[in-house]
Amino acid sequence: MTAMETAAPAKKGLGERVGTFTNRHASVLPTFAAIAILILLLVGAELYFGNFLTPRNMSALLLDNAYLMILAVGMTFVIVTAGIDLSVGSVMAFTGIFGASLLSSGVPAVITIPVMLVSGALIGLLIGVLVQHFNVQPFIASLAGLFLGRGLAFVVSLSSIRVEDPVVLWLQSTRIRIGDWYITPTGILALLAVAVGAVVMHKTRFGRTVYAVGGSEQSARLMGLKVPRTKVMVYVISGLCGGLAGLVLTAYSGAGYPRNGIGTELDVIAIVVIGGTLLTGGRGYVLGSMIGVFVYGTIKTIISFMGAEQSWTHIIVGLLLLLFIVVQRAIVARSERGS
């Protein structure tokens, strides 16, 4: 037993408080590592290029990666339950092209946007039902979702459809400026998704049940928590995020394209893991995933600054991912030994 169990809570010194904090929040450490790497990348790039940490560049970081951030929020929910969702890239492509096609046939944005979100959520619902009620492995169920989404995207159109709708374009073209910094409505949507995701995860019974399921599904069930509903819901949330990302990406590129987001699901999984979420479930943070997106985006920007091949992004992200998985293993092993 640790001293903490026996000692009465007295006034704590700083050292003790740090001790209490790390004791309580050992699972935050990977996220701190991600923050450290982000700072390292930003400072390193600034020193190397001299013109990296500009407001323009940093604002673009959010703008360019808004859709990834939204997907990462949904993926965090799924991965914390120890599941996986491979469908997000193609769900995003499908909702994007579907929305673009609706808009081009004259359906107003106020109808199109909810339809996009709902169709994403429906694919998520399908995956969730397969996982929960038909006991299909999340990998397989969401692989089915991946093919379904991609197939539907091609059914809607084989080529890209331009979007002329002012509402959707407004999401992208509006720049809310503060000095040299700016933010677009898509960026606000992404940050909003993160904020809502974080509050739901930490402050609601549903969110805590998500962690409980990831910790031990059996225990969560025996504790009387609503496990089936929660497991279905996380895939619905991921699908909904897929739909929202479809909207944001369509606004960003000004068109729907059925080949969008091929391989994006893997980027998103990597981002979530780099942000400190354990693939085995039970631990992770939506805010960490946001940091993961920034790490990913910064690497991408650095590479384009260097004028190198974008494939280097994947190589570096791959290496980082390896590093993080090793770090997480070490942390998990340490905390298990502590028990």
């Binding site: 004791n23 699972s27 609601t204 805590r208 990831g214 025996l222 504790m223 009387g224």
Partner: protein
Amino acid sequence: MDEARPLVELTGTTVRFGATVALDHVDFRMFPGEVHSLMGENGAGKSTLIKALTGALTPDAGTLILDGEARAFHGPHDAQEAGISTVYQEIDLLPNLSIAENILLGREPRRLGMIDGRAMRERARVILHDLGLDLDPAAPLGTHSLAVQQLVAIARAISRDLKVLVLDEPTSSLDLDEVAELFRVIRDLKERGVAILFVSHFLDQVYEICDRITVLRDGALVGEYLTTELLRIDLVQKMLGREASFFKARERVEEAIGSEVAFLSARDLSSGAGIVGANVDVAEGEVLGLAGLLGSGRTELARALTGVDRPDAGIIRIEGEAHALDTPRQALSLGVVYSSENRRSEGLVGDMSIAENIALALQAQRGALRPLSATKVRELATSWVEALDIRPADVDVPVRNLSGGNQQKVMLARLLAISPRFIVLDEPTRGIDVGAKVEIQNLVGEMADNGLSVVFISAELEEVLRVGDRVAILRDGHIVETVASADVDVDSLMALVARPDLPEA
């Protein structure tokens, strides 16, 4: 007490799994403020009855009356709402969440739809305090010992309006102090009028804490007795349904052995902090018992001897020749095998059949290129099922559906199938009933008679003494003494195990 109305009463409870009847018209009742024990061999229907009581399964027939009201539970949630809570043997809490959340999750205090973290921690602290525990409610549960986790599980149970508390094998992984702490809590709850179902295979504990005993056998009710009116020997007879045929005495290897005749001899074996400078000699056909308290290094020694953990220092000689046993595979090739105390996580593959589980090790030894044919596997399994009397005798049944004792036998069969020469059994009788325990003990004797060297680990000193020819006593990672079983009895062995090192003046 009989005149009082039972707090909970199950009548005519019947549960079928396919063709087998797990519970056959069983009546069961509990009074407020009593500690009740449910006794029976493995497979007698204890866990099924508990599940019927706690809503984990819905009986095919029968009624449940709680506090004078007929109830039907559709899941643990319903039962918990009604005031029936369970603390399971394998503690079913969430190590990744905080203690406060583990206690209150599902009915945490909320403000504006959001969980109120501060209020939740405060409430958890009060509940823990009520149990005499001073823990940091915000600390993750996983950082605490099993005993603490168990008390947290009880805290969760009492945090709501609790009428019936079911404790399923609560003491199997606790040491003596922790058991005393648990009993203090149980007595406290009893005072408050909670009915407690205490299921344990430790007869001593049952007699110490329980007021009343219900005995089940083969899914049927044998009877309900007051603890004070039921002799232990009668209890065992009722559980087994036969004259207690007990342990066949076997001839012991009496002479002390030096390293020249030892089959396996370890010198100065150290592994992490768990075991330091251990010397072990085991002769062919000898059973060496390992006795020690939890955390004394029993398992660490076992793992170091069998290559599961790579020892930090020391030499292991097998038939006089030094060998490096750094991996289980190397150990296996020398005929040295280890049977883990964690049947479920480190032993059996629950979803695979008895036959597949038995054939696993042999197949691994042969390598993937020389697969055992399906017929061969079945033949092998059938012969072992017969030899060890594994029930059910159907080799296609998934192992997960077997009782603890039978699972243990399957594990033994798997190891014996590769004809080992040295076997370490780590708590092979933990969590299994008296009858199966005796069978396992007899098996160990037979194995030794056939020339196998056995290291037998158990938390029960009596058992170690009965099975072992010699007993090595572990304390704080050191082998403090090795004695011939004939020279000690349970009391003197207990003294050896418990004797604290003299405090420095």
